[in-house]
Symmetry: D2
Subunit: 371 residues, 4 copies
């Protein structure tokens, strides 16, 4: 059943060429408008380790990473995402990536020396949904700092966990990423079958990437993992101490979807960064897909705390292969924010209580968003 | 300096009789309208231990408590607080309590057998601010369950930490409670000297009780302590699993005031319960008083997360010694909610950014309360 | 490099038949001599969930598991392990398993209805190293209790993490399990190339199973994962409260190997159970293998706390397919205990300090084992 | 009952002069033989904050402290303790201290400018048990760093919690410290009434100091508190990363006595430092005293893990008021180590199992100390 393809009325064609064997989401390249400010945020505040840097770019990694980097910050004129980068299993998977996307008529660029430092032979494409995807295998190994507890901070980030992409047509995106080898682990739907978001994985966690319904292509967030929940609380405490608490956009809280503990931050350019911990193993072939009702008030926050509107509306531009921002296409399906927040929205904590109840009435103590 | 009396234009007279020597806040008696529903909340959900119960009342305690109870739930017609109960150092302190309040012209009632099970000779008064205060020394000892880890739940509550009282005139309240022997540890003021809230202690934590400015006398909350922050998160997770997340009113979060980690719940009658951990030692005679600016957006939540309006507006009635609800007097001083939330309010994250900035502008990612 | 086969002087032949595609270690069947006592240990103390039980067997699972069980307790005359059970990717992998082991001349038994409740078509073999291995794909799905925080205990076990097998010839075992598709992630060696232990994985954690050098075939331990370290401490606290602290054999502590936080318990039959959390992602094809020096005092415990001798010497018998205990063959290579503990042993905390230093001299404050 | 004096056959006389009103243990002055090595240990490894330093001494404090320091490291020829320093409630309590000890015939020295930087008028005495006790009230206030989460490390130390003193005659010591105003909270005895150790408090925690039976006067340890248990584990992890795990003498573990989570380290001079968290409130006048049986295997470690011999035998010298080490007097009462560890010792996990059982037999998996 999980191997079934998601139905969609406007599918991207399924290539006859086999998909590259993606191991995991591995790195993101972010364009930032003030490299020094971004360095302060990611290095001084969040504690990522600098593998290498020059005047134009900083290559960062988490404590358990052994490849050269899992975040690149590059100075540029417009804040945007230059690449969602995935590691593939073998060098030959790059040939497969070229064939797969070429068959789809996508623009494909390959550089034997890589697009960024520390990474070898790489393929970048503008995928059928408009996202700049990158694939690589060859990479420079660096010290895995997992045992270097002398370097840990209270909010230590240990892994890059996932990406999240905003796209107008979620089923179309899911179907395409299934063609690329991803499996759905969870999604949000309504009783009419409208899909508001879906989570998809290669490595056996809840996701390597997710599709969030909205105007796109845009990048919703990039997520780094900590070991424990207190590490995430420590990030908040430090931001408070630095009088930068307004960088906290949403959370901390417990997700319904993924069951993970989360926090959303906004970097100096507004790029959204999630800090995330403790989802669950999904590696079995028949791992049960969890479908959440869009009106379930605990789907996004298990504790029923409100999602702030900016979390639904804001996202980062993505670049094409020439480095130009991709135009954004509006979502035409129902919006999750519209159907769940505010005067027109509807959500419930207990399904049986839902009849005729707006969230004005049922969530009597959480009126922050109705003032 | 901390021994100085808070100035107030409308002081309660300072009795010539010495105040009783209060050891700590020790117990609260809550009137609830559905004893079974309250039992489910406090016992099944929060995990308090039943020391004793009958058809009219349930006597509960936390895991580290060795006196008979620190919470009494009593069935009654109107949800309210029947007693804020303090333990005094010696039996003779009850005589002092009688003299102290009698001199103030307060109604005083003394029962040698106590007002509730498990507690001996007790004095109840209607204090000058309208609150039902109780004092006792003699108490039945029960097993301190601190070592009984077989009984611990993930959200285990270990101590009663403090009360919080809503009163229209905070300086008047503070001055009176200083007369009763309390010391101020922190407060919230504005640059005009308006005092919005103050925290006061007998035991060397941040407080045994606090005065919150608002229509009163009412009870804002009663707080229980956990050992660690994850215990508080576990309470939220469990409420989500039970589909009772709407019992979560505010938090979890880090307080600015007190530096403690917190969560606010509402019980089936709307009584507010805080779960609280990790404030700091305040027992030195010259413990520095921390004064927060009412416009400091991190005073109530160190992470700048918004305070929901109900937290400012809702509170529990208190009873007089005849068991009748006390009439509520409106606050005439500025309201903290009015000066900080919404279209008219003003708060800042960085003081230097504050000039001409409303929270609409500065807190760009936390617009949940402006929808 | 990690794809290279470990050299061994006495290899099990590599079959020409392809190995079954193992997804993960999935379940262990333990024979216990007092089912009621074992139930108390695993259910009442450790909090595993009973999926199903009868007079002869109890089927248990962790909170995040969605297959029928990951531990079977079966009443029997001799405490032993009846099966190390792995899930394979497809039903066809069972045919591969039959062919793979048949080619090796191993005894193979297949039951279309499975050997235990809740599991369908299964293959059991007595593998070339003498271990009872089981493979299955078809399984009954049950509720994944991950979101059921109302059922969590302070020491909640969420996943089966790994097995650990005692075998006299570690390189021989590693080479054979590499043939079966496992990859080495870490090992312990000395400067002469003697291999004392190796960790091998299918799912991308540090291991699904490990080979520990010693008299075998025996089962060293089965490990369950918690979310956080405090959950493991809670298991210890509860055992203390129940006056069963002598079930704690070793730990809690931080492993050098795997970097995980650990605790070793002994069940009522002496079967060793590890509670384990927070190793690292190993799923990349070139994941760096970590080799530890057997004399490194932090390899087994990162804090240098001594390994108790029983941990080296005790292990559980394993059964053949007739249910008879397999005879145990003595290890002839050097023993890790002999080379590191006690009067003859040698270990160091700082390699440069090691010259001429026995652990008597260097570990001056940890003399517990020299009394 | 807790106000009763401990019986002793060799009491120090009870002065007629009233005891000074001690608020809490406040600071220790340690003489170290290599100031740079000690600085590295306390500042770089443990993360204490330097308030002030010069070539001869370093003044350190924990994150929640607001007085000038709570640890002084002073360069000297012999590692020892120069002062156990207590804060008193008022300046007049110094006069009381002078009178109290003068009446006992103790050597008393008073310096209006204090003995160390940051502290004013102070009294130092050589107390009747041979310990260098200091009392002060006036002190320089410094920033309480509690909210400075940008300065926190994973193992952040927040308070000085207590001292621990080794003395040959525990009842004599307890009786004397009761005269000084301390209250016993817990102790360890045998069925013959031999007292092996006692815990005594002024502030309402389990102790400000403790008397441990052994050759004395010596200092057993000084303890600093963290907020949570993971902070203590982080200290261990960091010591491992720095290849200084041999500084870990005992633990981490859960105490039976005090119910706190603990770790014992040894500094470069061998001074023992405890890291400690989560004991319980003891401030009520009738706080129940907990008496542990010396043969209860869970009294020192709730998980039954063995106490290493060095923890019983090693301790720091203390200085007299001339700065000379005090001679050590041997304990003549039974030694806790002798009665509980090794071939002659006896301890039990379950009292009913105890009959005729040595720890060889009952603790079958914890034989580390019998090799």
């Amino acid at each position: 059943m999980t191997a079934d393809r998601t139905p969609t009325s406007s599918p991207v064609p399924t290539p006859s060429s086999p998909a590259p064997d993606i191991v995991r989401c591995a790195s993101m390249e972010l364009v930032v408008t003030d490299l020094a400010a971004s360095r302060e945020f990611y290095v001084d505040v969040l504690g990522l380790t600098v593998t290498e840097e020059d005047e134009e770019a900083i290559y960062l990694r988490t404590l358990e990473e052994f490849i050269h980097h899992n975040l690149v910050l590059r100075q540029g004129p417009v804040a945007a995402v230059a690449a969602f980068s995935y590691r593939v299993r073998t060098p030959e998977d790059l040939d497969k990536a070229v064939a797969f996307y070429s068959e789809l008529g996508c623009r494909v660029e390959r550089r034997e020396d890589g697009f960024v430092k520390g990474i070898g032979d790489s393929v970048r494409v503008q995928d059928p949904l408009g996202f700049p995807y990158e694939f690589f295998h060859a990479v420079e190994h660096v010290e895995r700092l997992a045992w270097r507890y002398d370097l840990y901070t209270p909010g230590a980030l240990v892994r890059l966990d996932h990406f999240n992409q905003v796209t107008p047509d979620v089923p179309k995106a899911v179907r395409h990423y299934q063609d690329l080898g991803f499996r759905v682990t969870e999604d949000i739907q309504d009783s009419d079958g409208v899909v508001y978001a879906a989570w998809m994985r290669r490595k056996p966690t809840v996701h390597d990437t997710a599709a969030t319904g909205g105007d796109g292509p845009r990048m919703h967030h990039v997520a780094f993992a900590t070991h424990e929940k207190h590490n995430i609380l420590a990030v908040c405490d430090k931001l408070g101490a630095l009088r930068r608490s307004d960088a906290i956009e949403r959370g901390p809280g417990r997700h319904g979807v993924s069951n993970a503990f989360y926090l959303y931050l906004r970097d100096p350019d507004g790029h959204r960064v999630e800090i995330y911990t403790q989802d669950y193993y999904t590696g079995d072939p028949d791992n049960p897909v969890v479908t959440w009702d869009v009106h379930d008030n605990q789907r996004r926050d298990w504790w029923g705390n409100p999602v702030v509107p900016s979390w639904y509306t804001d996202a980062s531009l993505v670049l094409d292969l020439d480095g130009e921002p991709r135009p954004v296409v509006a979502r035409t399906d129902a919006s999750e924010m519209a159907v769940t927040i505010g005067a027109d929205g509807f959500s419930y904590t207990r399904k049986d209580d839902a009849e005729g109840t707006s969230d004005h009435e049922q969530g009597e103590y959480k009126l922050g968003n109705q003032l």
